[in-house]
């Protein structure tokens, strides 16, 4: 019996890259492209009533920001894996996408077999974090302490272990090396990274609510 296929949506405005990604994905026996588009509006409309297992989303779309689609899908479909399609050296935007709800990212220049491998890794629960992103996360959490006005559970800080995992990743260690260093299992490292992703997203949402309530936008900050 064949393994069930995972459906993938490709949202990318560069025709050549989209075509290559679709081709790479369709070739893989476990993956199939369920939807592709170059436009934000079109995608939002489609995702209103449809879903996929994995969303590949470019950040710069002709009619809007990809992070809007990411946030929408994260809210609609909490189980969906969302990957930012990024060029290298664009870590700031990747971090913003993670805060919008992305759980992984993919470089546009990645070779065909690594595209599928990254998607499958993500589905298996392994979100990637580059050293630069790891360092940016540490800095962001450090420099941006939890706003006191928000309920503690809403804006979680990183645990000591999670920070240690990130510090290992900053130095270029692989997940396995991090696990060895901290004397924990590889899967535990993956779990930590997943939870870091989630916390970033929750934090940024909490921050947004906090900012909104600070700006006096009615209703948003209230519990009523």
């Amino acid at each position: 019996m064949r393994a069930p296929k995972f459906t993938v949506a490709v949202i990318e405005d560069d025709e050549a890259i989209r075509a290559r990604l679709i081709a790479d994905i369709n070739v893989h026996e476990q993956l199939t492209v369920g939807f592709d588009s170059a436009f934000l509006s079109e995608s939002l409309e489609w995702f209103n009533s449809n879903s996929v297992d994995v969303l590949l989303c470019d950040l710069g779309l002709p009619d809007g920001r990809g992070s809007e689609l990411i946030a929408f899908c994260r809210a609609q479909y909490p189980e969906m894996e969302i990957m930012v399609v990024s060029i290298f050296g664009d870590e700031k935007n990747v971090l913003n996408a993670i805060e919008a709800g992305a759980t992984g990212y993919l470089l546009k220049t990645e070779s065909s077999d690594r595209v599928c491998q990254s998607i499958l890794d993500l589905l298996a629960g392994g979100s990637p974090i580059s050293p630069t992103i790891a360092r940016m996360i540490i800095k962001r959490v450090e420099s941006d302490p939890r706003p006191s006005a928000i309920d503690q559970a809403d804006v979680p800080n990183l645990s000591k272990r999670e920070t240690e995992v990130l510090q290992g990743l900053v130095t270029g260690m692989s997940y396995q090396e991090v696990a060895d260093r901290l004397s924990i299992k590889l899967d535990t490292v993956r779990t930590y990274i997943k939870s870091i992703y989630q916390k970033l997203e929750v934090r940024s949402r909490g921050q947004a609510v906090y900012q909104a309530s600070r700006l006096g936008i009615a209703g948003l900050g209230d519990d009523k």
Binding site: E91, P131, R135, K139, G172
Partner: protein, 622 residues
Amino acid sequence: MSELHGRLIWLACCVVVLAVAYQIRHISFQTPSGVLKLSVASFTQAGANQVAVQKTLPDNWQWHNNRTSHGFYRVQFSIADLDNSVKAILIPTVRSNVSVALNGEKVGDGGSMQPPIASNLRKPLMFVVPHGLLQTGNNILEVELKSSVSGKGFLDAIFVGPHAALNPAFKRHNFYRITLVESITYGLLITTLVIAILAGLRPQNKEYAWFALATFLWAAHNATNHITNIVVSNHVWDWFSYVTLGWFALVAPVVLARFKQQIHPRFERFLLSLAIVLPLLMLVLPQPAMHAMADYLWYPLAFSIGGGALLFVAIDAWKTNDLESQLLTASGLFIIPYALHDLLIVQAVLPWEDGFYIQFGAVVLLAVFTMILLYRLVRSTNEAELLNLNLSDEVSKKTQEIQAAMERTRLLEKNEWLSDERARITRDMHDGFAGQIASVLSTLKSGRFEAAEVETQLEYSINDLRLMIDSLDNEENDLVTLLGMFRYRANPMLEQAGIELDWVSLPPDTRIELLPATALHLLRIMQEALQNAVRHANCTRIKISATHNPEYPDEVLIRVQDNGVGIATELLDEPSKGKHRGLRNMRYRAEQINAALDICSTDTGTSLSLTLPAERLDQPSS
């Protein structure tokens, strides 16, 4: 034209002042009507065997060179029809004191007849005659006169008549001579107090203190004009009267000069020595000599100096057309005629019964002075307030200007840095990436190529481009992250080649920051070393380590070791000769970032060591 106007107005003011000053004559004694004026008396000097002589009242002993200080006047007068009204005897002016007896009965005196003799310098004396003492027909009035200064006694004409007729004249005279002067004294004392407080509050403005001294001296001198019952000896009292007025005249120039913001230390010292020496001399001299000295040396000298100062201010007022100077000279003008008048009285040129005017003279001057000082104070307070307001405005304006200037400087620096960086990146792109792509293009154009070779070349170019981006975009160019990214990027290549990587990096909390240019040189050296190992060394293991140099903690030691076949010795020795531009480039780059590069190769492997100064990696020598 307007300046001339100002001067003319000032001169006119001076004339008006003199005209007003002349009106002082109206305060002289006005003979009441319906009373008897007694002006013929027989005078007997005190002492044994003295002969009575006929005198006309007013009688000034100075006029007939009488050296005595004690004498008796006897006046005979007759009254035809005596009514029942209360009668009185009025003597407008005496010097220094009298005791009056009518028909052998004493009717009164002007104070103590024994030393210290009461000083009735200004005081009119009126005695109510007890009922029944005055008789129809002949009456005899006996007046005993005592002068505190021998030879300087004075007795005015004597008025006898109904109290109701004499009283208005007495009151009027008493008002001008005593009450008014007393009021002036109190006013001056209050002024002194106010100015002294100001002087204490503003010790840097010495003119306040000097002015307070001047007003006090004037008040003190005035007091000698209306205080009758003295407690010190006549000698000291007279001395005090002379000295206070003289001192005022000596202090006035200092006040005026300092008021005009001028300080003449030598002149002030001269005045001080005058003010000390002459009064001391007067104090030790016997009484007649003291009076002579006061009348003929002390007063003339002091008033010449004071008047001279006023003249200086007048000249200044004329020259500069300065309103303050003009006001001061105009008001000071009062003093001149009064001082001259009084000086002439003292020297018996003018009749003694005129009385002194000097006590009124300085009042206007001092009032004007006070007003100017207060006005100055108010003005400077206002100016300070305005200045404060302007200052805070100024400060905020300047702050903004400085901020703007700093912003401009920062922008300029940033622009300069940006254009430097832009030039460097452009050069890098042109020399590196563009050259590599061009080379691939020409290979493709030639038609003779192997796909694998082209792929390798393009991969190399992309990797180089990644290094460039990492060197630029890395957060703060943190060395640890930079090395981490290098390993992260190198992973796929190593996996593909089936090479095991042993990775040892610096501790995560190591803080070493590099400039983008330095970072790129470092990354390219490491990339070159790694690619050499992957492509040419035929190795199975690579170890990359970054550690602090144990001997020099300020250095970072980066090693790339493989277990491959090693590099040919001739290539290492003379890298420029071979096709291996890579080695030569590495050395060049190491030089650029002040790092020591050491390559050691044997047939069991190659080891590349790069020693970076870790404190200051940011300024590669150009």
